[in-house]
Amino acid sequence: MEGAADSDTPVTERSAADRAAALARLLHRDCTRLLELYKERESFLSQHAPGGERLVTLALCPEALSTGEQVGHVRSALRRCMGLLECLIVREVEEMGEELEGEYESLRKTVRDRLGHLLHSTGALLEEGEGGCPPSPPLQCTEGQDEVEASGSFAAKIWTYRVLLELIHWTDSASQTLHLFHSEKHGQQQQLL
């Protein structure tokens, strides 16, 4: 099967990996901007040093060896981030309603959509021959809230801040990993030619 795909598949994979890497870079910028907007709203966060454990850990998957496995690893983390982001949106809409339609709310929706696209595109990459971690169990929104030390609006703000940090971290990782993945694929293609 791999031999049959030699003539066409590499080009498709290369372009798909390239597009996924570009999307990850774009998403990383979006997440960075989203955090800036959140800090403008909650000014105290500019002096806040995040503490505690990461919300998204690597324990879901053993240390990756190959680049393809790293892509799967990152994808698992992004899935976890996606779950946290959706919880965040639900919680904020629950608290504030949907009448607030500022730049933060608009970009928040954009990040969610693009993160979904990135998960889809990286999933497509993994399905074409690359291994990956087993899918993480779906995240329950209550689970996210339990992770903060206290309840209440302040704790929710801290939690939101940490979720946004996780998004920035993992979209950056995804960008780098997918770029490496694309480079390796491109090198293999060059050797084949």
Binding site: R41, F44, Q47, A49, E95, M96, A150, S153, F154
Partner: protein, 932 residues
């Protein structure tokens, strides 16, 4: 004995004290003190048992034993349980730090012992080692005061507490607890106000407070849309500033949740049944508002919009409109409907009434017109408000025949004219016109001759072949038919010259006309106006007036400023229109647009006649009131004349000297002068007058000379005696062969004696210089000749120091005798100004005068010898002293008594003529002697 007494006293005291502690004197200690904290409400409920009703309460911060409350309260026991209860509202959250409470009973005389301390543990106890902040997510009204506390994590230091962006002063309550108090809190933002507790290195913890307002809704009004249910609406009041879902305002209407308002964020509620009394409760965490309304259902009918509006029949002047109702109950409702018509920019409303109204007939529409209709209805009885308005519905009415045209006939000559008609407006055409039909007939011909014209034509030329009048009928045609024909009969042509045309002055750009009523004007009058002098397709305008009118104002809209109009008034009757009056005038006069033409100057002697022609009427732009004539100087115009008679078109400028002149002529109207026409002229000498001026004086002088000559001739004897007496002949001692005659002294033609004044000389002395005649003029500037002196130069004597070299040079060309005389520096000589003859005079000259009978042989040599002799040795001899005995004196005696020139100071009678002695009978002598 004494020992027993002492024991007894001690016992008695002990008993007394025991009695007091047991309630006899001192109230018993309250029992069973319990505390029940309400953390969200920040209240502490205390309960205890006691027989007293007055108690002292003390509350401490447990760690530092700071007294928070020390108060005496009167609390009665509950009759059922027998317990005393009292609630304390803490300014600080109860979690901030541990509190200790004790209580004692009090009566009027004494107090009991304090009860054991009852401690309420805070969150700063060692088992809770994390950081905390209280209260969390509190909602408070704007302007309230509030305290926050921060419990610092174990082994962490405290830095500060920030309220929003404001750093607050913190108070320490315990080892780990710090508190702040915020006063007069402002409204929060969308996500509340953050209160953050910081350590030196990180954010410890925080809380959010929501500061807002209680509900401010108002104006509850309930109405029915379907004559059964109710819809209640109100106005949202002040923004509560509470955005969180749990803190939003919740509404109930008559005790039922208002889903429309609570979920859809609207400000109305519905109810399936009408209730006459309505109560709306608006509630949020900060307060409650209650609104009420009360009304009968029939008083609050708000109809829905009519549905399916359509036109069932459209005519030219009317249309029938029909609609339906979506609520069946409306069909029996007595209602009033308002229909609004929009056409172009205009709108009108019409009201119709009836039960369950569902159709109306729209009258008074215009044919071939677009209308847009909207409709709304309301309950006729106890009208509450207009119902919803229907959507716009478009109607286009049908066409109808046009209205009759406004026709007039204008004659521009006795047999040519033009029929004019005014274009029909949209309102009068009743549909797009297809054209016009012009029919004409004359009295001598039977029937009508009809011509069809396209719709763009508004005139038709008429030619009268004979003297009979022509009647013209004009009708407009559109798809719906032909209008009623409008007829007009040719009016008699009357040229302006045949009439006394009055001058008409405009008033504010209009013409205000009035005329004497005419009894023959059975059909009224026509006022006609057009630009004067217009030919061809003239913009003729007119206005037909009823017979009752005898005045009219031609508005400025149809007039152009600066254009002369001819305005005529005709009376209308069954026959041809009859001209009653005619004017010419300007609605507004302007300055002429063009200057006078053909301006020309004509010099007559020292006068200049300016003449010009007036500008054309079109350029006059006003009645010419006169002309002004200016003399143009370098920078300005000098007014010479103002001619107020516009018929005068020339002007004579008199008494001008020989120079160049520039004249400007300006015509002026009541609006002012035009730019002016300029003409220049250079005044020249009149040759005829020049001749006259020269010849007349010459003639007069000639005549005078003739008269003087005649007179002198007649009186020659007297003249001779007076001016030329007989000169006695000289007594000659010797023998003189030559005949005697008067001394004829001829002035030297080349040497004159000039008397000069030299600044270098002594002013007391003057010199005598012989000056060449040809240099006389050139030296006049420097040498002043005393020609005006009355004193004969002959008799003047001058003393002069001679010897100046420059003077010698000046006279270098003079005769030798003169040169010798001037050049002499040896002798100061006084002599008479008798000119010495020059060498060119030959024998007539010499170093000195010689007797006339002297030989003429060898004159040149003799002259030179004399010259040398006199010049070098003797010089001039004194001539001023006459010695008749000396030969020289005798020689000179011949010149004495001879007339001398007043200018040359020489004897007029020459010494000799040519080389021969002149006989005494000269022409003058002959004249005086009467010889011819």
């Amino acid at each position: 004995m004494q020992g027993w007494v002492t024991l007894a006293l001690l016992l008695s005291l002990g008993v007394k004290r025991s009695l007091t502690q047991n309630g006899l004197g001192e109230p018993p200690v309250p029992r069973g003190l319990t505390s029940n904290p309400d953390l969200p409400a920040q209240t502490l409920s205390l309960r205890w048992q006691s027989d007293s009703s007055l108690f002292d309460l003390e509350i401490f911060h447990t760690e530092l034993m700071n007294v928070v409350l020390n108060e005496t309260v009167a609390v009665k026991a509950d009759p059922v349980t027998g317990l005393h209860s009292w609630t304390w509202h803490s300014p600080l959250p109860l979690e901030c730090t541990s509190l200790s409470v004790h209580i004692r009973a009090r009566n009027q005389l004494s107090v009991s012992q304090w009860s054991p301390l009852q401690t309420i543990p805070g969150s700063d106890i060692p088992v809770k080692s994390e950081s905390y902040m209280f209260p969390q997510d509190k909602m408070v009204p704007v302007g309230s005061n509030m305290s926050f506390c921060c419990i610092v994590k174990e082994k962490e230091d405290f830095k500060e507490i920030m309220y929003g962006r404001q750093e607050m002063n913190a108070t320490r309550l315990s080892r780990r607890t710090y508190a702040i108090t915020v006063t007069n809190q402002p409204a929060s933002g969308n996500t509340g106000t953050n209160v953050i507790c910081f350590s030196q290195r990180l954010t410890l913890t925080g809380a959010v407070v929501f500061v807002g307002y209680p509900p401010g809704d108002e104006g509850l009004v309930c109405e029915t849309r379907d004559l059964a249910s109710a819809e209640c609406s109100w106005k949202k009041g002040r923004d509560t500033r509470l955005r969180m879902k749990r803190s939003r305002t919740k509404y109930t209407l008559n005790g039922r949740d208002c889903l429309e308002a609570n979920e859809k964020k609207t400000w109305w509620c519905s109810s399936k049944v009408w209730e006459e009394n309505w109560t709306l409760v608006a509630r949020n965490p900060l307060g409650t508002v209650q609104l009420t309304d009360s009304a009968q259902l029939t008083d609050r009918v708000h109809l829905l919009a009519p549905a399916n509006v359509t036109v069932v029949e459209v005519k030219a002047w009317s249309a029938t409109l029909q609609w339906s109702w979506s609520v069946a109950a409306y069909k029996k409702l007595e209602m009033v409907c308002q229909l609004r018509l929009f056409t172009h920019e205009l709108s009108s409303t019409r009201n119709y009434g009836g039960p369950g109204l569902s159709s109306v007939v729209l009258e008074g529409l215009w044919p071939d017109s677009d209308y847009t209709v909207t409709l709304r209805c309301g309950s006729k009885h106890s009208f509450w408000k207009w119902g919803d308005e229907s959507g716009p519905y478009r109607i286009h009415t049908k066409m109808d025949r046009p209205d009759a045209l406004d026709v007039w006939m204008w004659m521009d000559s006795s047999n040519t004219g033009c029929v004019f008609w005014k274009p029909l407006s949209v309102r009068k055409s009743h549909g797009a016109l297809d054209g016009y039909e012009v029919s004409q007939s004359s009295a001598e011909e039977d029937g009508w001759t009809t011509v069809s014209l396209p719709p763009g034509n508004f005139s038709y030329p008429i030619i009268l072949n004979n003297s009979s009048d022509i009647t013209v009928a004009v009708a407009a045609r559109n798809p719906a038919g032909l209008s009623q024909p409008s007829t007009v009969t040719t009016p008699a042509y009357r040229a302006d010259s045949q009439l006394s045309v009055s001058e008409l002055l405009g008033t504010n750009g209009s013409f205000v006309l009035s005329w004497e009523p005419n009894v023959n004007a059975s059909s009224g009058y026509v006022v006609e106006w057009f630009p004067t002098g217009c030919s061809g397709l003239c913009p003729v305008d007119w206005k037909k007036l009823p017979e009752s009118d005898s005045s009219f104002t031609v508005n400025s809209d149809s007039l152009v400023a600066g254009v002369r109009y001819t305005v005529s008034v005709y009376s209308l009757s069954t026959g041809a229109p009859l001209l009653l009056q005619r004017w010419q005038g300007y609605s507004q006069e302007m300055i002429p647009s063009q200057s006078v033409s053909e301006l020309s100057p004509n010099q007559t002697g020292s006068d200049v006649l300016l003449s010009w022609r007036a500008t054309d009427m079109k350029q006059q732009r006003g009645f010419i009131r006169g002309y002004t004539i200016y003399l143009a100087n370098a920078a300005h115009l000098d007014l010479i004349a103002n001619i107020t008679d516009p018929e005068v078109q020339s002007y004579r400028v008199k008494g001008l000297s020989l120079s160049s002149y520039k004249f400007v002529v300006k015509a002026y109207t009541s609006a002012g002068e035009d730019a002016g026409a300029t003409v220049a002229i250079k005044m020249e000498m009149d040759t005829d007058m020049l001749f006259v001026g020269i010849l007349v004086p010459l003639g007069i002088m000639f005549c005078c000379l003739i008269l003087i000559s005649i007179c002198c001739y007649k009186k020659r004897e007297w003249v001779k005696k007076a001016f030329y007496p007989e000169i006695p002949g000289p007594k000659v001692p010797g023998d003189w062969s030559s005949p005697q005659g008067p001394l004829d002294v001829k002035p030297s033609p080349h040497s004159l004696v000039h008397i000069v004044e030299s600044p270098e000389w002594d002013f007391t002395k003057e010199g005598l210089f012989p000056v060449p005649e040809e240099e006389e003029e050139s030296e006049n500037d420097n040498i002043e000749v005393d020609t005006d002196s009355d004193e004969p130069a002959l008799l003047r004597y001058y003393n002069q120091v001679v010897g100046d070299g420059s003077h010698s040079n000046q006279v270098s060309d003079s005769s030798g005798s003169s040169t010798a005389s001037v050049g002499s520096t040896q002798t100061e000589i006084t002599y008479a100004g008798i000119q010495s003859p020059t060498s060119s005079q030959g024998v007539c000259g010499g170093g000195s005068y010689r007797p006339q009978m002297q030989s003429v042989a060898g004159p040149k040599i003799e002259f030179e010898a004399d010259f040398q002799d006199d010049g070098l040795n003797t010089g001039y001899k004194p001539q001023g002293s006459w010695q008749l005995d000396s030969p020289e004196a005798e020689n000179l005696s011949g010149s004495l008594g001879s007339p001398t020139s007043v200018t040359s100071s020489q004897f007029l009678i020459p010494e000799c003529s040519e080389e021969k002695p002149q006989p005494p009978n000269t022409w003058f002598h002959n004249l005086l002697s009467g010889k011819s």
